[in-house]
């Protein structure tokens, strides 16, 4: 008997996606057939829903959409492929593999995501299988990188405390493995794995997820204070490492964060998670599994917009959840322990770890790895990967750490960094170094406005204003997304822009510098001119009136531009 039936969640009729999953025979659907259909580069919507669980979804080049329609051609369908590695740590060989397949099958660039994953854009249907095979041959995977399952587990790449990092990283990998879907569909469809027959009869099971998986995606992140780079409060389930006497004592557990919302629907909102207690490292996997199963059983399967874990918690209350969790665990969490975050951005440049190895954090504008005229970033990293014997760590802010460099290799790598002009971003304003944007146009089907392609231009125009106000080196966290789904975690930024329509954005102010507080809508549906006109005076006032050490997000609240938002339920009020 499937677990799903043991815990009936809701009486309301289920959404279409629930039916698709239920009928899919553990994520198979008709993918094998529709992937082979030579008449179209697309797959049907039902299969696309399942495809996400395999780490990919269908997009099209929106720049070409109307042009191709005129030419009587279907849209330029292509697939985004997300390659995950828990904690964002990959070997130089894995880096070289990504570089290779991006040129062979993708659009020749690599996108580092805000969840420490890789994204490859522009893979056409007929190359998907080969691409996924090459990914798996290098021991990375795309499985469960998207879809209604636990996503890539994030983890602070901490180059400072090397022992702590390795301990936390190991746990991140373990919890990630533990929550992987068990369906053999992935192996059958992509890796020529043996077909599992009669899986309908229970030969195949998802011990954690059940046959319909989760009501919605589920995100886990582990932070190591004082850095909140993983934005632990944005996660469905967060763990905050508690370090006592230089050793990992355990984790505070936080639950119910999430970024997504829909424009014009106040019942949807971003939320920050709440800390509910402390656990020891050994208890982490158990807590993660039980939390996931609670969401599996009680999450809303009728309305997808209301299906994230944050709504389950807000609807039923934290007390209910703690009770349910305690019952399933068979033991209670300890009282939360004190911790302190300084920032949620990255610290760039060279750092020596406690194990004597060196780490270099590169500034990557919006996470895009590509060669540009005058900046051969992609080539430089390829050359480094060829000689590097440490690792590469993708940060939660779309940057990259060349990690674990031995003293002997440091000179060589330093030489390559210089030769290719790779930058820690020191020449940029602090605003730019603290910027993030989602991909948006032209590939993302959800985008309502530009993001990755526009934010650098907007920054070009903001920087002279900051310069004039004397704020060039002031860390201000700025984020932009092309839609309100929140891939760049915009609701936590001190200054953010969420796309409404081409060239139009909602502007938000007042997020916490450490990612602890949501921001608030300040101006709705404005274009570039109004953005600049609005921000100029605020920057100037901030420069003049700020208190010592006062962050921009705190200042705009004190100055009365926006009220403080500590709970997502007040985000729209």
């Amino acid at each position: 008997m499937a677990l799903y039936e043991k815990y009936p969640p809701h009486d309301a009729p289920h959404s279409d996606v629930e039916d698709i999953k239920r009928r899919s025979n553990y994520l198979r659907g008709s993918l094998t057939e529709t992937l082979a259909d030579p008449i179209t580069g697309s797959i049907p919507e039902d299969d696309n829903r399942l495809m996400k669980h395999h780490g990919s979804y269908m997009q099209d080049d929106r720049d070409l959409r109307s042009e191709r329609a005129k030419s009587k051609l279907e849209p330029a369908y292509q697939f985004m492929l997300r390659v995950r590695a828990a904690g964002g740590v990959v070997t130089p060989n894995q880096w070289l593999m990504m570089d290779r397949i991006s040129h062979k099958y993708g659009n020749g660039t690599i996108r580092l995501t805000t969840r420490q994953s890789f994204q490859l854009h522009g893979v056409i249907k007929w190359n998907l299988k080969k691409t996924i095979q090459e990914v798996n041959e290098s021991l990375l995977t795309t499985l469960a990188a998207c879809g209604d399952v636990n996503r890539n587990v994030m983890c602070n790449p901490n180059p400072y405390q090397s022992e702590i990092h390795s301990e936390v990283y190991e746990l991140a990998s373990k919890v990630s493995d533990h929550l992987d879907p068990h369906s053999k569909a992935y192996y059958e469809i992509w890796l020529d794995g043996e077909k599992v027959t009669d899986s309908q009869d229970g030969a195949e099971q998802e011990p954690i997820y059940g046959p319909v998986y989760l009501p919605r995606k589920f995100k886990i992140g582990i932070a190591v204070p004082p850095s909140n780079d993983v934005d632990v409060f944005s996660q469905d389930l967060g763990f905050i490492a508690i370090i006592e006497d230089g050793r990992l004592a355990g984790f505070n557990v936080s639950v119910g964060g999430g970024m997504g919302m829909s424009h014009g629907d106040p019942k949807t909102y971003p939320q920050v998670s709440k800390v509910i207690g402390f656990i020891t490292p050994e208890q982490l996997i158990d807590v993660a599994e039980k939390t996931v199963t609670i969401q599996r059983d009680y999450g809303d399967r009728a309305i997808r917009k209301h299906a994230r874990f944050k709504y389950t918690l807000d609807d039923r209350g934290l007390e209910w959840f703690i009770g349910e969790l305690t019952e399933r665990l068979g033991w209670a969490l300890q009282e939360a322990r004190p911790f302190h975050f300084d920032h949620n951005g990255d610290r760039y440049g060279w750092v020596k770890g406690s194990d004597g190895k060196w780490h270099f954090t590169l500034f990557i504008q919006n996470g895009r790895i590509k060669d540009e005229e005058g900046y051969p970033l992609m080539t430089g990293l390829r050359e480094i990967a060829k000689v590097h014997n440490g690792d590469f760590r993708l940060t939660a802010n779309q940057n990259l750490i060349i990690g674990g460099i031995s003293s002997q290799k440091k000179k060589k790598i330093e030489g390559l960094i210089k030769e290719y002009g790779l930058t820690d971003g020191i020449q940029y304003s602090a605003l730019r170094r603290n910027s993030m944007a989602c991909v948006a146009l032209p590939t993302c089907g959800l985008a309502m406005a530009e993001s990755e392609r526009y934010l650098p231009t907007l920054l070009d125009k903001l920087e002279p204003m900051l310069e004039e106000a004397g704020l060039r080196d002031e860390d201000i966290v700025i984020r932009m997304t092309g839609c309100p789904n929140g891939c760049a975690r915009p609701a936590l930024a001190e200054l953010s822009f969420i796309g409404k329509a081409p060239g139009k954005y909602n502007m938000y102010l007042g997020g916490g510098f450490t990612g602890n507080r949501l921001n608030k809508l300040y101006k709705e549906n404005i274009g570039e001119t109004e953005i600049l006109e609005t921000l100029g005076p605020i920057f100037n006032r901030y420069a003049k009136e700020r208190e010592s050490g006062e962050h921009f997000g705190d200042f705009v609240i004190r100055a009365g531009y926006v009220p403080e938002v500590l709970d997502g339920r007040n985000f729209h009020s």
Binding site: P38, I39, T40, G41, L64, E67, R68, A69, K70, S71, K72, L73, E74, A76, I124, W126
Partner: protein, 612 residues
């Protein structure tokens, strides 16, 4: 001798003078006498100004009308790929009937070869295809006549009208072969063979006149005019013909290839409103192009001419040179006769040497991919008066495109699908005359001269339940868009199967969304595609056919009709081989049996090709 009529020494305009100059020297004594009386009796009204634009055939027909030959039988056989020979054969047969001949008119493929022995008078009208090959519906007759089974034909009188294109090496070869073979078999010529270039109508009419005159010799003249001038509008319904094209407005002109493609294929929609032109799926559209202005200007400069100097341009009379070269004369093709005449104009140029016996291969290599500008530059042909030079040029021929629209689906419109031809040769960019004009210099709102070229050899089965297999890679898919549009509009129930191919799926899948819709709606039952540059190994339509050999064979057994459109040299040949293989492999036929099967299909009109 006849006085050469000119505008200056006669009451006729340029065109009339030209026609008369051509006609008068061919007349026999009795014909001249008859004509003189006829004109007197008829009065001047018949040749009132409005009749001046009527085609040459009108006059000739009236002239040759009063031949009585009730006792004579004439067999008219045609072999036709694009329907030109068929159209002429029908027209001439009608004329012969009106003159009282007993006429048997037949496509060569429908004619029983054994009946040949009984034929007294045989007229053959045949085109030549590709590399000197007979058209599809002439193949079996051609092979029979050239085989050992061919009978002695000592009592046969015959004449051949050969259609061709002088820019091809094997110009009018099929006609020449028939002519020679019939002689070998003992036949006597009624009149000598006439070879017609792309502008065939006038020489064909002359041949017919000569034939009629010869057949009628010895019979008493009767002063009866059975055909009135007014009844001679050749095509039913419309006054617009090949020689009187309709200026159709361009409604749409867009590129079907996606960004990044090596190819550019124009989808052009034209309005036929007010023309009364009718067509069916499978027919072609003839379009008179203009030469590339850049090439014309370079040529004028290289030859040392002046753009404004007046030259004669056939029916158009006198035109400034630049206009004449743009619109009237062919300047992109070097033919052997052209080179010979050019050598005559410039005896010291060294061209003569190139034309010397034994250097044919060199000559061929030179003429290939070169144009008039090359010739002028390479052989220093400067200083020849433009007026003399244009006399050796061929009239710019119309281009034929398979129509890609169904008139049921798009009333009053006609669509064509044209791939722009661009390449480099001898260090210079070359442009397909018509395709690049359409791609670069024609916008919606412009008007282009067009006519309908009917093609009875490429028609959907009459029975709408007959399954249809269509093989059309690249622009060869054009008529199948018309086919499916027609089947959709008429609600035909037969199964349909399309094989399509090109270089890249993402950019070269012509009319992709339309096939997808037809697949979804069931108008198209199956679609198999081959994109040659998307995989390591090049795959073409014939590979897809072989992959689906079993199903394809079953369709054939169910009576499916097979249509092939597109490139002849490679594709159509490979597809034919694939069909043979499928018959051998799936049907257990020997290679001879497979060939017979396909020949039978051709005779039953179940295997039709529109290849070029």
């Amino acid at each position: 001798m006849f006085l050469e009529l000119q505008v200056t020494n006669s009451p006729f305009n340029q065109e009339q003078a030209e026609l008369l100059n051509r006609l008068l020297p061919t007349l026999s004594e009795s014909q001249r006498l008859w004509l003189s009386g006829y004109l007197t009796a008829l009065g001047a009204a018949v040749f009132a100004p409005s009749a001046a634009a009527a085609p040459a055939a009108v006059n000739v027909q009236a002239v040759s009308a009063p031949v009585s030959a009730a006792s004579k039988e004439v067999t008219v056989l045609f072999g036709s790929q694009t329907d030109n020979a068929r159209g002429l054969a029908k027209k001439f047969a009608k004329r012969l009937e009106e003159l009282g001949f007993k006429v048997v008119l037949s496509a060569m493929s429908d004619f029983k070869p054994n009946a040949l022995k009984k034929v007294e008078n045989l007229l053959i009208l045949v085109s030549t295809h590709g590399e000197g090959e007979p058209p599809d519906n002439a193949i079996s007759f051609y092979e029979f006549l050239h085989s050992k089974r061919a009978p002695e034909l000592t009592s046969l009188r015959y004449s051949v009208l050969a259609l061709g294109d002088m820019s091809y090496e094997f110009y009018c070869k099929t006609g020449k072969d028939f002519d020679k073979r019939l002689e070998e078999l003992g036949g006597k010529r009624i009149v000598s063979r006439a070879d017609c270039d792309v502008d065939f109508e006038e020489p064909a009419a002359e041949w017919m006149n000569a034939v009629i005159a010869s057949l009628g010799e010895g019979t008493p003249a009767e002063a009866s005019v059975s055909v009135s001038v007014a009844a001679l509008k050749t095509e039913a319904g419309s006054e617009y013909t090949r020689s009187n094209p309709f200026y159709a407005e361009v409604l749409e002109n867009l590129n079907l290839n996606g960004r990044g493609s090596d190819r550019e294929t124009r989808h052009i929609e034209l309005s036929l409103e007010g023309s009364n032109l009718k067509y069916e799926p499978g027919d072609s559209l003839g379009l008179y192009p203009e030469n590339h202005p850049g090439l014309v200007d370079e040529l004028i400069q290289a030859a040392g001419w002046k753009p404004e100097e007046p030259v004669t341009a056939g029916k158009s009379g006198e035109l400034p040179l630049r206009e004449a070269l743009l619109r009237h004369y062919e300047i992109t093709v070097l033919t052997k006769p052209l080179l010979e005449q050019a050598a005559g104009l410039a005896p010291e140029s060294g061209l003569k040497e190139l034309l010397a016996p034994g250097r044919e291969q060199e000559l061929r290599a030179y003429a290939e991919d070169r144009d008039l500008l090359d010739l002028v530059q390479d052989y220093g042909l400067t200083g020849i008066p433009a007026g003399d030079f244009v006399k050796i040029l061929r009239k710019l021929p119309a281009r034929l495109y398979s129509i890609s629209s169904s008139p049921e689906a798009y009333p009053d419109e006609v669509h064509i699908t044209v791939r722009a031809v661009r390449y480099e040769s001898q260090g210079r960019n070359r442009y397909g005359v018509c395709s690049v004009q359409l791609a670069e210099r024609i916008q919606p709102g412009d008007k282009v001269p067009v006519y309908i070229q009917h093609n009875s050899n490429f028609k959907l089965p009459e029975n709408r339940e007959t399954p249809v297999i269509m093989i059309g890679p690249g622009t060869g898919v054009a008529p199948f868009r018309a086919f499916l549009g027609e089947r959709e509009e008429t609600g035909a129930e037969g199964k349909t199967w399309l094989f399509y191919g090109d270089q890249h799926f993402s950019t070269d899948f012509l009319y992709q969304v339309e096939w997808q819709r037809w697949l979804k709606d069931g108008v198209l039952t199956r679609l198999d595609v081959a994109f040659s540059r998307d995989t390591d190994k090049k795959v073409y339509v014939q590979h897809r056919m072989l992959e689906k050999a079993r199903d394809l064979y079953l369709w054939l057994q169910e009576g499916a009709a097979v249509y092939v459109c597109g490139d002849e040299k490679r594709m159509a040949h490979d597809v034919h081989t694939a069909l043979t293989t499928i018959l051998e492999q799936e049907g257990g036929l020997s290679s001879e049996e497979a060939a017979e099967y396909l020949t039978l299909m051709q005779q039953q009109k179940r295997y039709q090709r529109d290849v070029y």
